[in-house]
């Protein structure tokens, strides 16, 4: 299998040296796992530390006097509530209230915001954002190739990063960030992640990727840090019931249906899709994402059908074994009348209807 026509992060060679099993992930040549395997990688992140190359994510700068009102008009969360050095989770929505992408919005100051978007949708988002600019006084820059992004996640992440920076990491609150130096490299140090654990995401110039990656692995050796691939990234986010674009979110799925009412600030004023979302909310949702666990041996996978009494009522958006919980879990789209904890459902596993039940999410929540 040739990877010649795939995009590569600056850490591609490092992944191969570490025994990464490389796959095509939305046009990117990425490690799905390393030699330790997905279960070890998952457990390392839950109990010690895991290191993730997320340099494929997209970075878009919005700069100028109208940066805040512009992003506020395109996204669901309330950008006016962000203070300097704070970030929030949000969604770009279309006129129908569907999700163009989910993203993080970082506020550096009132004239400077950074949008961090999904890898596979970076170009789509860039087209969407640039084509929806009206007369706002801003400049837009797609800086994705300029940056590497490395996530160090898990209970030991802060201790590892402390050995490489003078920045007071304890002072950075969850979903806050600061500019600092990591191993002497100018970086954005952000207390964010996609694993359900405490941890940091470090953004730096792409040319320093290898230096930071190697030094983080070295610094994490004493706690047996493991490099983690996309498979562990997926099982970690799924145990934490975080959405994955293309699964729980899409152009056809509204954030309300995906349990993202908490980032959908309908009172903040008009934004693209706000009218459609208000109507959906007033009319009542017809379907939403729920968590489920299998109550019979068997594993539900993405796109499997969900049944009650021989009637197909929905489908699995993400399904997988959960390595830390040691259960087979998933997220599914169900009509709201069946979206209640304890509801018994059947999942069609390659022709066999296996029992499962709706359970509260997140499946996993770390102890504070």
């Amino acid at each position: 299998m040739s990877s010649d026509n795939l995009k590569k992060t600056p850490l591609n060679a490092a992944h191969r040296e570490l025994g990464g099993k490389m796959v095509d992930f939305g046009g990117w040549d990425m490690p799905v796992q390393y030699s330790a395997g997905v279960i070890e990688e998952h457990m390392a992140t839950r109990t010690r530390a895991g290191l993730f190359d997320v340099s494929h994510m997209g970075e878009i700068w919005v700069e100028g006097p109208d940066a805040v009102p512009f992003v506020n008009r395109l996204t669901t969360n309330d950008v006016t509530k962000l203070v300097d050095g704070q970030a929030h989770y949000s969604a770009l929505t279309n006129e129908k209230g569907g999700v163009v992408d989910d993203l993080l919005v970082y506020r550096f100051d009132q004239d400077k915001l950074l949008l961090v978007v999904n890898a596979g949708t970076t170009e789509k988002d860039w087209d969407w954002i640039t084509s929806h600019k009206k007369d706002e006084n801003i400049s837009l820059t797609n800086a994705s190739p300029d940056y590497c992004q490395i996530a160090v996640q898990g209970p030991e992440a802060i201790g590892i990063l402390k050995t490489m920076t003078d920045t007071e990491l304890d002072e950075i609150k969850y979903y806050h960030f600061t500019m600092g130096h990591v191993d002497g490299v100018e970086s954005i140090i952000s207390r964010t992640g996609y694993t359900g654990e405490d941890g940091f995401e470090v953004y730096a110039a792409a040319k320093y990727a290898r230096q930071l990656w190697d030094k983080l692995l070295e610094a994490g050796k004493s706690v047996a840090i493991l490099p983690c691939g996309l498979a562990a990234r997926n099982t970690l986010r799924l145990e934490s019931a975080m959405s994955l674009y293309g699964h729980e979110l899409s152009d056809e799925i509204s954030p309300l249906e995906a349990n993202l009412g908490w980032i959908t600030k309908l009172q903040k004023g008009d934004f693209i899709g706000s009218d459609a979302l208000k109507k959906k909310k007033e009319g009542g949702l017809t379907r939403r994402i729920v968590g489920f666990e299998m109550t019979q041996p068997g594993i539900a996978r993405d796109d499997f059908d969900v049944y009650i009494d021989d009637k197909r009522i929905g489908y699995v958006t993400s399904g997988s074994p959960a390595p830390f919980l040691k259960k087979n879990i998933g997220l599914a789209f169900l009509p709201v009348e069946f979206a209640n904890d304890g509801q018994e459902i059947k999942i069609d596993v390659r022709g066999k209807r296996l029992s499962a039940k709706v359970v509260p999410t997140p499946f996993y929540k770390r102890e504070k």
Partner: protein, 129 residues
């Protein structure tokens, strides 16, 4: 490089067969378990089930993927390795030993003889994998 014992017969679907008289133990190869990754679940047939040559008799699932297992030889299931229900990870750690899946009473022992030898399987892997 994959571990390929010489005393077994192999299929191009990466199953191995160990022949004792007219009984064949069947499992998946080291190469197959390595490609799958961490095995977390094994779905098996019942004793008495009958399968034709190259028919799927069960499946093996890793965190990321599911793969059907085919019997290279036709026959009736005599014994099922129930231990794998509790310790599916043995498929990774001991693919040729503890992690046999089923024992099948072969209809035609010639089918096992016609399978690849260890050497032939190794050549097949280096040419195709």
């Amino acid at each position: 490089m994959s571990n390929i014992p010489e005393n077994l017969r192999y299929s191009k679907d990466h199953e191995w067969v160990k022949v004792e008289g007219d009984v064949a133990s069947i499992g998946i190869t080291d190469y197959a378990q390595h490609s799958l990754g961490d095995v977390v679940y094994v779905d098996m047939p019942r004793v008495g089930d009958k399968f034709g040559t190259h028919e799927a008799f069960g499946s093996v699932e890793s965190v990321k993927a599911v793969s059907e297992i085919f019997t290279p030889v036709a026959g009736e299931v005599l014994e099922v390795n129930d231990g794998l229900n509790d310790t599916p990870e043995k498929v990774n750690s001991d693919p040729y030993g503890d992690a046999w899946f089923v024992k099948i009473k072969m209809e035609n022992t010639g089918e096992a003889d016609a399978m690849l030898s260890g050497e032939e399987y190794e050549e097949y892997l280096s040419a195709n994998a």
